[in-house]
Symmetry: C2
Subunit: 338 residues, 2 copies
DNA sequence: AATCAGATTGGCAGCGCTGCCAATCGCTGT
DNA sequence: ACAGCGATTGGCAGCGCTGCCAATCTGATT
């Protein structure tokens, strides 16, 4: 397409103004439905816009409007990964709320790499967004400095275990770990193991595990054994890691997984090996994936308010007010595997 | 954060130029590493940038650079949904390629709604992107008109069954359906059913089903029965729909699912009901989700090159050249459920 | 020492739009 | 008929950066 056109200049607001026989600022007002103008003017502008196929240039709009209230109808969102459905869910929640307010979002994927996150923050800030939504509370000093210097609203989502920069929306991963442990203990499980993925990268999983272990220790039944899959979480990794874990400690009576993907893999391992769940081995996950609820025995897990977190993050981004921490909680789903 | 600052103006390129004791255009050249400048100048600029914490304003940059080759380091991507992992996968592939070339992406989610897609196209075009990546070949006339008028490169991804606007990257969904049917027929299955989700919205699923049915008819063993879940695809929907399907036609010997999510649910139904797979009932999916490969019996399915499609779409967006169709194919994974 | 190509640099006019302000219009009240 | 006042409208200076071009500088060459 592009190569064929003889470099035809795109229609500008000035073209519309000329075609409609009005001034530029009048067209601008009509288009943004701001200020006052007559019905007749509105119609003429609308007609000209339609006839010329005018598409406003938001770059120019934002540039011109910078420094004032309006302008910035853009937010940046940084998530660590697109592999795990959790993050698309957060995006989905944020997107819905953002759309409603006429915002557009630019997203960046950090791949769980703090330095990449810092670079992305720089890149996104250069679009002069109205605000930035980032994931988690841990950032490089450089990233924090940029965020502070930008002077814009920042929302850190998902995690509340730590100190935030501005607004924090999420839940306590540590508390999730504690509650998960307590649930298993309450049900009488004593020889408990853990199956997780790379915890040096996924800091939230590490916090859950910390809370989990602490509660077990307090109860006098410390974690028996753990298996850590290298690489990101997946059903395949969970299946394999559980196999290894049980090979080392066949006497376990319950296993806590870093998330539902891993747990699902573990469940498949049990199915394949004929291990009764939860009779012989109890399984506990995290995230409440749809798939886990459709299992023959619904997975015991924790439902996290992902859409709500995304939506709340987006909503708060537009609001004025002091920094605050919004804990949206979570819900333990007993399921039937523990 | 924002409310505390006394409206401090952000650092501009002019500030940097002054601080470094050089001209604005020199700073611009150094920052973009374009044109020539001395090492000494480069160091002074770098020092000033670091000291002032300068963040370039890409809005201004793109506006100024519009009309010329450079400038536009932005692309728009429109996908129908974030619920199904397929689309995040496409994004992931595109993102990786885009990042490499220093592009940023603005994404829009159409929610499978053509008129919403049209609106999103308008919104994204107003950012004056270098190109646009959209999903599928079906668009409203208005959307097509806007796309054409924009004069930018457009890539339609995933589907090659139809006529594209500019560049098309994907595979034939119809052929997928045909091959899936042929595979089941070759294995001796004759009483075949279908479990799908809302097909009026997911046009690609409809194409697969069309190819599937056609092949069955040609072989003289037309589709016996179908169950369509309302709403989007999910394991829960697949599980329930398969239950209904079998209630109506207990004699089926194979079921084709609209995708792996649905098939996974179907598999769970079989597990729960003690239906032997594939002894009593064969299952066939689509997409080759990781999870489906971790099942006790790996799911028979079709692997689609999602990352590759995203990556290729992003790559082609930057290239010059005539419109073309790039078929990246797919791979049938026999698995163990059929 | 004069000359010249090439490297380096600065000045400045926009890119397309919005904010601000002054000008004009349409009515009302007296 | 005329002042008064809000509703409408147009003009124009930027927003921060890049492209273009002219100015200056650096050595090497004659």
């Amino acid at each position: 397409m592009n190569v064929h056109e003889p470099e035809r200049r795109l229609v500008t607001l000035a073209d519309v103004a000329r075609a409609a026989g009005v001034g530029e600022s009048t067209v601008s007002r009509v288009l943004r439905n701001q200020g006052s103008f007559s019905k007749r003017t509105q119609d003429r502008v609308a007609e000209a816009v339609a006839r010329l196929g005018y598409v406003p240039n938001r770059l120019a709009g934002m540039l011109a409007g910078s420094g004032t209230t309006a302008g910035a109808k853009l937010v940046g969102i940084i998530i660590p990964s697109l592999t795990n459905i959790v993050f698309p869910d957060l995006l989905r929640g944020a997107n819905a709320a953002l759309d409603r307010d006429g915002f557009q979002s630019v997203i960046g994927v950090s791949d769980y790499d703090p330095s990449r996150e810092e670079a992305l923050i720089g890149a996104l800030l250069s679009w002069r967004p109205a605000g930035l939504i980032v994931t988690g509370l841990e950032h490089t000093p450089g990233a924090v400095a940029r965020l502070r210097a930008s002077g814009i609203r920042v929302v850190e989502m998902i995690d509340t275990d730590g100190t935030g920069l501005d607004i924090v929306v999420g839940f306590s991963n540590r508390a999730v770990g504690c509650d998960s442990a307590r649930h298993l203990l309450d049900r009488g499980y004593r020889r408990i193991g853990y199956v997780g993925h790379d915890i040096t990268r996924d800091l939230r999983a590490a916090k859950r595990l910390a809370g989990f272990c602490e509660t077990l220790v307090q109860a006098g039944h410390p974690l028996v054994e753990r298996a850590i899959a290298s690489g990101p979480s997946s059903a395949a990794a969970g299946r394999e890691a559980l196999g290894q874990l049980l090979a080392r400690r066949p006497d376990l009576d319950a296993v806590y997984f870093s998330n539902d993907d891993m747990a699902l893999g573990g469940y498949f391992h049990c199915l394949a090996e004929g291990i009764a769940v939860p009779g012989r081995l109890a399984l506990f996950g995290f995230n409440a994936l749809d798939i886990a609820a459709a299992m023959p025995r619904p997975l015991a897990t924790i439902r996290t308010p992902r859409l709500e977190i995304g939506a709340m993050a987006a909503e708060r981004l537009g609001a004025d007010g002091p920094p605050e921490v919004i804990d949206l909680g979570y819900e333990l789903i007993p399921g039937a595997t523990a």
